[in-house]
């Protein structure tokens, strides 16, 4: 049977699509001939890949180098309890293939970097970005602009999500919307801030919808329109934006002509210089060292700091650290701490970048302090 022609079993499987004038046999054959790359088999990649597989996209690539963790299962519906510790790309391939044996699934268990992004993207018609790393989000956008690939981008945070579609030559790219990533630590990750499990279900499904529309040529894609969704308020809104002539990648005189890795503020080199203090070690240090030999910097938000903090701690929220780095005494060892140890590690990376030679951070954060040293210490919840 020639490529792209539907078999009798496919005609049966996709009959509800075939009844739609906007898809029909011709559209379904386009889907069969199409290839879509899903970047990130997480909250967004789970529903998007399930629906794209079910819809009959002929080749589906899944990029993820992580393994399934039990904390993923609250929202990453591609995986089940038996898949814990498996490579996500592999577990996803099996699940999607079981859902639809008529299609090809390609597992890319790699971390996308400047040196492999071209190779991974080159064979795909449409790219869906559902990564949880801002650096990868910009890398993927730049690569899609340079390789002239349509991109459907979505992101989530707590109860809020956003989505947009880029089509080469037809509208603005992600950098036209947000030219540069936020400073490290200014936006907490889902791990730190939490996320409503069902939220990526909504946004991932929107991404799959956009991909199908682009492939069959139906409807109006989200080109030049940022769709935002607030689950608590149950409100969808749309904000238009245009191509920036000074965009670094799709502008009239682009500065970015090759995908490049962003400077990693928390890269391995910086982190190798960070001293990791266990709660008991910190307790010992506070008891034995002179108060002027160390500076305790609590990088949580002011409302968290107000609930409780260690004696002599000063509050510099991680988002303000770059601006306020001069407040840290040069002669003292800077000890950064936060709720669970994520933001303080980011703070260490910022501090190293700013010339502080050997910062320390409280491993496990104040939650670990409360668990191991001081059970009466009340750690404020994240809001």
């Amino acid at each position: 049977m020639s490529r792209g022609v539907l078999s009798s079993s496919e005609l049966a499987r996709y009959q509800r699509h075939l009844s739609l004038a906007e898809i029909g046999v011709e559209g379904q054959e386009k889907l069969k001939r199409a290839s879509v790359l899903v970047i990130g088999a997480g909250g967004l990649g789970s529903p998007s890949s399930l629906y794209l597989a079910a819809s009959g996209v002929g080749t589906l690539g899944i990029v993820d180098c992580d393994r399934v963790d039990v904390s993923n299962l609250q929202r990453q519906v591609l995986f089940d309890t038996g898949g814990i510790d498996r490579l996500k790309a592999e577990a996803a391939r099996e699940r999607l293939q079981a859902l639809n044996p008529e299609i090809n699934i390609v597992a890319h268990a790699v971390e996308l970097r400047a040196n492999n992004v071209r190779d991974v993207l080159k064979d795909y018609d449409v790219v869906l970005d559902g990564t949880d790393r801002m650096a990868t989000r910009f890398l993927v956008n730049d690569a899609c602009v340079i390789l002239r690939k349509p991109l459907v981008s979505a992101a989530i945070h707590r109860f809020e999500g956003q989505a947009m579609t880029y089509v080469p030559g037809r509208g603005p790219c992600y950098r036209c919307l947000f030219p540069e990533p936020p400073a490290p630590g200014t936006i907490p990750s889902c791990a730190e801030a939490g996320v409503l499990g069902v939220l990526p279900g909504v946004l991932g499904t929107i991404q799959a919808t956009e991909a199908i529309k682009l492939i069959v040529g139906a409807g109006e894609p989200l080109i030049g329109r940022l769709l935002t969704y607030d689950a608590l308020e149950m409100r969808f809104q749309e904000f238009s934006f245009t191509r920036r002539t000074d965009c670094a990648v799709c502008g009239d005189a682009p500065a970015i002509t090759q995908p490049k890795d962003p400077v990693e503020i928390c890269g391995p080199e910086a982190l190798s210089r960070v001293r990791r203090l266990a709660p008991r070690e910190l307790e010992l240090l506070i008891a034995s060292a002179g108060a002027n030999t160390y500076a305790i910097i609590d990088v949580r938000e002011p409302h968290e700091f107000a609930v409780s903090h260690l004696p002599h701690a000063r509050n510099i929220p991680v988002g303000e650290l770059m601006r306020r780095i001069g407040e840290i005494p040069v002669a003292a060892t800077a000890i950064f701490m936060c709720r669970s140890g994520g933001r303080s590690l980011t703070a260490c990376g910022i501090a190293v970048g700013a010339g502080i030679k050997s910062p320390a951070h409280l491993e496990g954060g104040l939650l670990a302090w409360a668990a191991q040293v001081d059970a009466r210490f009340d750690v404020a919840p994240l809001r």
């Binding site: 990130g40 997480g42 979505a154 992101a155 936020p182 200014t186 889902c190 809104q237 904000f239």
Partner: protein, 88 residues
Amino acid sequence: MGCTVRIPSPLRSYTNGAASTAVNGSTVAEVLADLDRRFPGMRFRMIDEQERIRQHIRLYVNTRAATHLAEPVRAGDEVHVICALTGG
């Protein structure tokens, strides 16, 4: 002049979780100044030291993109703060 500011999820820690808040001002600059009076530190998360809108933030007055702080705001307008999200 009263308007409503809609707060993006990553900045709601400043507003005790509120998705929107009522403020006064006849320009975006005045609106953000009033917002910062009510929720200290919040403006710096949107506007940098050079008084520019941060690169990962966009401001809209109703559906109109505000590219500078002098953008007028009228009574009853909604000022939307949009923040690039990272989660996937």
